[in-house]
Amino acid sequence: MGSGHPDNEKLERLFRGRLPEADSREVVRHLVGGCASCAAAARVFWEQNISLRGPRTTGESGGWIEKLVRRLERQRRAARSERQSARESLHELLDQPAARQLLRVRNSRRFQTVALCTLVLERAFAEGLRDPSTALELAELGLAIARELDPERYGEALTHDMQARAWAYVANARRLTSDLRGAELGFARALPLLARGSGDLIEHARILCLKGYLRLAQRRFDESVRLFDRAIRRYGTVGDQHLVGKTMVDKGSTYAEAGDSPRAIRALRRGLARLDAEREPRAVLVAKHNLILLLYETGESEAALQLLNETRLLHRALGNPLDLLRFKWLEGKLLSEEGYLGEAEGALEGVIDGFVDRKMGYPAAIAAMDLAAVYLQRNRIGEMRRLASEVLPIFQSLNIHREAVVALTLFRKAVERESLDQRLIGQMSRYLKRSASRPAPRFRPTA
């Protein structure tokens, strides 16, 4: 090119990303030099190729879409066949020990499919509610499958989608095991992959929601709400009102955690109105459960009790033991607030046993604070001492952080000195709830 001007073809190819490196260098150098005529020519190509101000493309009129559909027929049959065999592949894979699972995934095409990856990741998500460590193992297995997906077979965009999803599920599982730093790193891997994906709005929304949960765990409430709002817009665009509703419920949980009960109640009610109970009855259950608590806390006891009765029926119909345990906990708290202390005591004692059996340290400890409050009201000093000396040490063997154990020790000493009061119980309860999502600084009771 020398000291001359680049021709129009070179300028256009620069803006279309099709100019070799050496030529790009020369063209850019020439533009930096301030050549007005070339800048004017470049402006035209900029508008056509970058700034969306050029003429609309009209495309070939002859049936190119029909030809495309015919070419996709083979993939359509392949996708259906994959879905049909995925469940069998899943059972076969999960029957193997973990190390062998990875070997099978790496060496056999049968275990390198989008359908199988989808099933494994769904299983990982569901397991998160029961056993976060297993959820993490499954998510990592899903990631291994996603990495083996053949871009020639699926296209790069879809393989990037699945890798992004897998990383997001790994991040989510890390959050559930309280590894928030690891979760952050997982999302840092997921998002660039998503940016090179298919543009699937459901995929985008799903990952936004998972990141919203992380921000909630980090108590970055404003960011959490913004992420959920972005997800809601995407679900709305694709016309999935059930997922819009679920995300509104998640947003409500964020507001509740932030202490903004009126906004939380509004979001939960709006979400419930959109949920499809036939499609996902548990989503309705979770929303109603959270709403009951909030209604009670804001003084709407009648509405809370009415919803409690509706929710009891739904719990019995679904029969998930852990959900039933949490419901019993909710009942115990409301019975206590309504003055039915004997019934509350019975309910809460059963709840603590249930959580201890499941090795769920934090819920057990928080429920113990609720029980301590009841014992205090009933002046049951002996039971209080038993709770402090026999039950609380059990929590030390469960997955509770050191500072929370120290706090529980302070609680036990207060019981022994008979200096325990409702204020201290309230402070302990709040401290343990915060510690459940991340290690909190040392517990310091205030006067």
Binding site: L14, R16, G17, L19, S24, R25, V28, R29, V32, G33, G34, C35, A36, A39, A40, A42, R43, W46, N49, I50, L52, G54, P55, R56, T57, G59, E60, W64, I65, L68, V69, R71, L72, R76, A79, A115, E122, Y154, A157, L158, D161, A188, A195, R196, G197, S198, G199, D200, L201, I202, H204, L210, T237, V238, G239, H242, L243, K246, D250, R279
Partner: protein
């Protein structure tokens, strides 16, 4: 939050696309996707649909919404590629070992003239990058940005720089 599998809507792909065809073409035209790339963009969308259809409640809205989003991503990728090309071209020109000192001096002078037209924060960042060879993490530290956000800031500044190159037009052509 996992989307429960629903029975796939009984929408044979051909019927669905026959119904959607005019709107698909309208989306591609509205976003000015070059014809040679339009087929690939649409193919990727449909291939994704085939593999994810069980989790899709409303196939029509999903296909149209995803295609629109894909078109936006297409242009975003094109812009990023252009900014990276401009950035690489400048960095390589500044670092070219066989260039006579006079040429490097001229380039620095010309570049400074363009950079001076940019917003202040871009001026600072790009001078650090092109004059002092600062990589983004070091630039972040010097300028007080978070390491996680410096790349976004750099991209915006490269966008400003590139726009300035084509908006230039008013500067006297020194080469006549």
């Amino acid at each position: 939050m996992a989307v429960l599998k629903r029975p796939s809507a009984d929408h044979p792909l051909e019927e669905l696309l026959e119904k959607l065809q005019p709107r698909l073409k309208a989306v591609l035209a509205r976003f000015r996707i070059p014809f040679e790339d339009a087929e690939d963009v649409l193919q990727q969308t449909l291939l994704t649909y085939l593999h994810k259809r069980d989790g899709i409640n409303d196939p029509e809205r999903w296909i149209l919404g995803t295609l629109r989003n894909r078109c936006l991503m297409y242009w975003r990728a094109r812009r990023r590629s252009l900014y990276r090309t401009v950035d690489s071209a400048i960095l390589e020109s500044m670092a070219e070992p066989r260039q006579p000192p006079q040429e490097i001096g001229d380039l620095s002078h010309d570049l400074e003239r363009v950079i001076a037209q940019l917003p202040q924060r871009c001026q600072t960042l790009l001078r650090l990058r092109y004059r002092l060879g600062c990589e983004p993490p070091e630039a972040a530290e010097r300028l007080g940005y978070r390491k996680s956000s410096i790349y976004k800031v750099l991209e915006r500044c490269l966008a400003s720089l590139t726009r300035q190159l084509v908006a230039h037009g008013l500067v006297e052509d020194r080469r006549g």
